[in-house]
Symmetry: C2
């Protein structure tokens, strides 16, 4: 039997406070893609991402995972790239190779250089006593370079005046910065861009506080 | 005066042992792009990447940086994506969105989840006493998931039988694993793919030992 997977609603495996999950939630919102939300509690009972069921879905034992068009995709930037090609409304990556490189540079400066070092698994390994200092140190260090980088690329948003994948990485990273009590007054440009983005509906409905698994919900 | 930047040789700022620099060196070799190599010593005198001159080139104070077609690009994956669009010979990313997503998932599993945690700056912060254990722990953990992921995507190489950006991330990461004495016998699939890739000329000429700034050179 032929199944038209396009007719099936995608399923997002997500944790409300996971910044990588939030990136994908923003993309889905901007693209206007309806989806089923399935919470994966990264904390409870050692973490549901390590369960046998979830391991079968994502051997990397991480959220987000998106089941879409008959396939399971993982890694937030890979998912967002896929969505941007298959659902071209509200493009998140410019077509011009140089502009695209600029967007990818900013996105990767966050997704490869800042977020991974203050990720949950690293913080758990560093330990309760040191994790607040650790998170604050690495985000502050990363934002110091990012602030300078953005001064060469920013318009209204991270790169020019359109929302790109760089912005999808920025807002969840600033949210983490605030959790770790980073002094955002040191980063006026990041703060200004973050504020502009937070006014957009897609960033609001995808916010951790507005997810089904949030205690705030 | 009109300058045809295509006629100017690109300049790669690189450190022989930087795994992110190595990724780009492989791409340049596979594409057959001639370039000038400018070493940036990440260790000497606190690190040349923090010099005023280099900061002006890359505010993130990291290698690699590639000056090409009149622009300075940073972040290895952003550079490789750009090269793949502008120099389409030996494509490193499939055109099909789903295949491309699979390649990006593997590449990001290394570039966002493994390499950043055992990066030089993190190791320096962790300190001389603990850095060997730290590096071995995170690479072993990352490779455990990666081995399972590759069992769903691999052919001769990481994804199918063509060399992709995933392979450009794999070989430098295995090199780091060996430096940190990771037991590679635990990872037969990663080892098999790595061996196949290491037979290719582009991976050999880009190897740390064969760079002008290597003590082996």
């Amino acid at each position: 039997m032929y199944i038209d997977y396009r007719l099936k609603q995608p399923i997002l495996y997500s944790y409300f406070r996971s910044s990588c999950s939030w990136r994908v939630r923003i993309a889905l919102a901007l693209k206007g893609i309806e989806y089923e939300y399935r919470p994966v509690n990264l904390i409870k009972a050692g973490g549901e991402q390590h369960s046998e069921n979830f391991k079968n879905l994502n051997p990397l034992e991480k959220v987000p995972a998106l089941v879409i068009n008959g396939h399971t995709l993982t890694q937030s930037l890979a998912i967002i790239n896929y969505l941007d090609e298959e659902y071209p409304q509200n493009k998140l990556l410019p077509v011009d190779p140089l502009m695209k490189a600029q967007v990818n540079i900013v996105a990767n400066a966050i997704a490869c250089d800042i977020q991974p070092i203050q990720n949950l698994v690293v913080l758990q390994y560093v330990g309760d006593e040191k994790k607040a200092e650790w998170g604050k140190y690495w985000i502050t260090k990363g934002f110091t370079g990012l602030e300078k980088l953005l001064s060469t690329t920013a318009g209204k948003y991270c790169v020019g005046d359109s929302v790109t994948v760089a912005d999808l990485c920025l807002v969840p990273q600033v949210y983490n910065a605030n959790r770790f009590k980073v002094d955002m007054a040191e980063f006026p440009l990041i703060s200004r861009i973050n504020q502009a983005l937070c006014q957009l509906e897609a960033f609001q409905i995808s916010h951790p506080d507005n997810q089904p698994d949030s205690p705030q919900h």
